[in-house]
C-alpha cells in the first residue's frame, strides 16, 4: 500500500518513516530547540530596546550590537532549518543542494549595501544635510533645513 505512489516513502515495512527511538529523540530535540529559539528572541528584543532607547552602557558600540542581532538571527535560521525542517537528518548531497544556492546572497548583500552607503554619501555631498529635491517636491509640507 502506498509503495506504487512513491518508492522512497515509506522507508520500512510497517509504513512508519521513523523508528520509535528516532521519534523520541526528535521530539526532545524539538522542545530543546523551542527553548533555545525563545531565549535568543528574548535576548534580541532586549538588546534592540536597549540600543533604540539609547540605554547602551558606555563603551558599547551600536554597530557591534547590530552585528550581534544579525548573527543571532542567522543562528535562529540554522536551528529552524536543521531541526524543524529536518535538514540535519537529510543526506549530505541534499543538504548541499539546499544550502549552496544561498552563498549567492553573500555578494548580493555586500554589493547592495556598498551601493546604498555610497549613494547616501553622494546625496550629502550634493545637497548637504537638506533633503533630496524629490523629497521636497512630493512632501511640500515637510520642514527642510535651508
Amino acid at each position: 500500500m502506498g509503495h506504487h505512489h512513491n518508492e522512497t516513502y515509506p522507508k520500512n515495512d510497517n509504513h512508519l518513516t521513523m523508528t520509535v527511538e528516532e521519534y523520541k529523540h526528535h521530539k526532545t530535540d524539538v522542545w530543546k530547540t523551542t527553548l533555545f529559539l525563545s531565549a535568543v528572541t528574548i535576548i534580541e528584543v532586549l538588546v534592540a530596546i536597549y540600543y533604540e532607547k539609547n540605554l547602551i552602557p558606555a563603551g558599547w558600540s551600536v554597530g557591534l550590537l547590530r552585528i550581534f542581532l544579525i548573527v543571532a538571527s542567522l543562528v535562529k535560521a540554522v536551528y529552524i532549518m536543521a531541526v524543524f525542517m529536518h535538514v540535519k537528518h537529510e543526506k549530505r548531497a541534499f543538504i548541499l543542494c539546499i544550502t549552496i544556492p544561498f552563498t549567492l546572497f553573500i555578494w548580493m548583500i555586500i554589493s547592495f549595501l556598498y551601493e546604498g552607503n555610497d549613494w547616501n554619501g553622494r546625496n550629502k555631498t550634493r545637497f548637504g544635510e537638506a533633503p533630496h529635491p524629490s523629497v521636497i517636491k512630493q512632501h511640500g509640507g515637510i520642514e527642510s533645513h535651508h
Partner: protein, 231 residues
C-alpha cells in the same frame, strides 16, 4: 556492458537504481519552491536595506514606530516598544513547534496526533494574521501608507523617509500572504487527515511537505523581524 555490471552500477549511489538523496519527488520540489521563494524575500529585504542606508538620517526608529499595543482596549499603553511584535514572533515560533509535532505524529501514522497538533497550528496562524491586521490598521490611522509617512515618525534629521511605508506594507504584506496560504493549506490538511485520506494512502508525506512550507514562513519572519523591528 554485462548485465552484472549494470546491476552493480544500479546499486551504487548515483547509478539510477536507488534514490541517492533519500528524498521523494514532492519533498524535493517543495524545497525547490522554497529556495526560489527565499530569493524573492532576500531581494525585497536587500532592497529595503539599500534604501534605508541611502536615507539613514531620516529613517524612523523602530521603537518609535512600533511603540504601542494596537489592540482595542490597549490604547493607554503608549510606551511599550516591540512588545506586541515580540508576541507575534512567539505566536509564529509556537505554531512552528506544533507543526513539527504534527509532522512527527504523521511519520508515526498517528492520525489523532496529527489532528491534535494541526488544530493549534491553524489557530496560531489565524492569531498572527489578526495581529497583523490590528498593527496595519493602527499604522494607517497614524498616517502611514504606501506613499506617505507622518511627521511623528521623522528620523534623526527631522525629515521623514516616505519609503518606509511602502517597504513595510509590501514586505510584511507578502509575508502575511504566505501565512494566509499556509493557514489555508493547513485547513486542507486537517480535512484530509480527518477523512482518513493519508491512512488510505499509506503515508503522511503531505503533512511533511506543508510543514516545510510553514517553517519557511517562520524562517522568513526571523528576517522581517530583524529588518523592521530589531535593527
Amino acid at each position: 556492458m554485462s548485465a552484472e555490471t549494470i546491476e552493480n552500477l544500479k546499486e551504487s549511489n548515483w547509478g539510477g537504481g536507488v534514490p541517492p538523496m533519500k528524498a521523494s519527488y514532492g519533498k524535493t520540489m517543495m524545497w525547490f519552491f522554497l529556495i526560489s521563494d527565499t530569493f524573492t524575500f532576500v531581494a525585497f529585504l536587500v532592497s529595503y536595506a539599500t534604501v534605508r542606508m541611502i536615507n539613514a538620517e531620516s529613517w524612523p526608529k523602530a521603537s518609535n514606530v512600533f511603540s504601542s499595543i494596537p489592540l482595542p482596549g490597549f490604547e493607554k499603553f503608549h510606551n511599550l516598544p516591540l512588545v506586541f511584535v515580540s508576541f507575534m514572533t512567539f505566536v509564529l515560533i509556537i505554531s512552528s513547534v506544533t507543526m513539527v509535532r504534527a509532522v512527527q505524529e504523521g511519520s508515526m501514522m498517528n492520525r489523532k496526533g496529527v489532528i491534535r497538533y494541526l488544530l493549534p497550528t491553524i489557530g496560531f496562524g489565524i492569531v498572527f494574521l489578526l495581529c497583523q491586521y490590528f498593527e496595519w490598521t493602527h499604522l494607517i490611522h497614524q498616517g502611514m501608507t504606501l506613499t506617505t509617512m507622518p511627521s511623528i515618525f521623522a528620523g534623526a534629521n527631522g525629515l521623514v523617509a516616505y519609503e518606509f511605508g511602502s517597504f513595510f506594507f509590501l514586505i510584511t504584506g507578502f509575508h502575511g500572504l504566505h501565512v494566509l496560504g499556509g493557514v489555508i493549506l493547513n485547513i486542507f490538511l486537517l480535512l484530509k487527515t480527518t477523512m482518513g485520506h493519508f491512512d488510505k494512502l499509506g503515508h503522511y508525506e503531505m503533512v511533511e511537505k506543508i510543514g516545510l512550507y510553514w517553517h519557511f514562513v517562520d524562517l522568513v519572519w526571523v528576517y522581517v523581524f530583524l529588518a523592521f523591528y530589531l535593527m
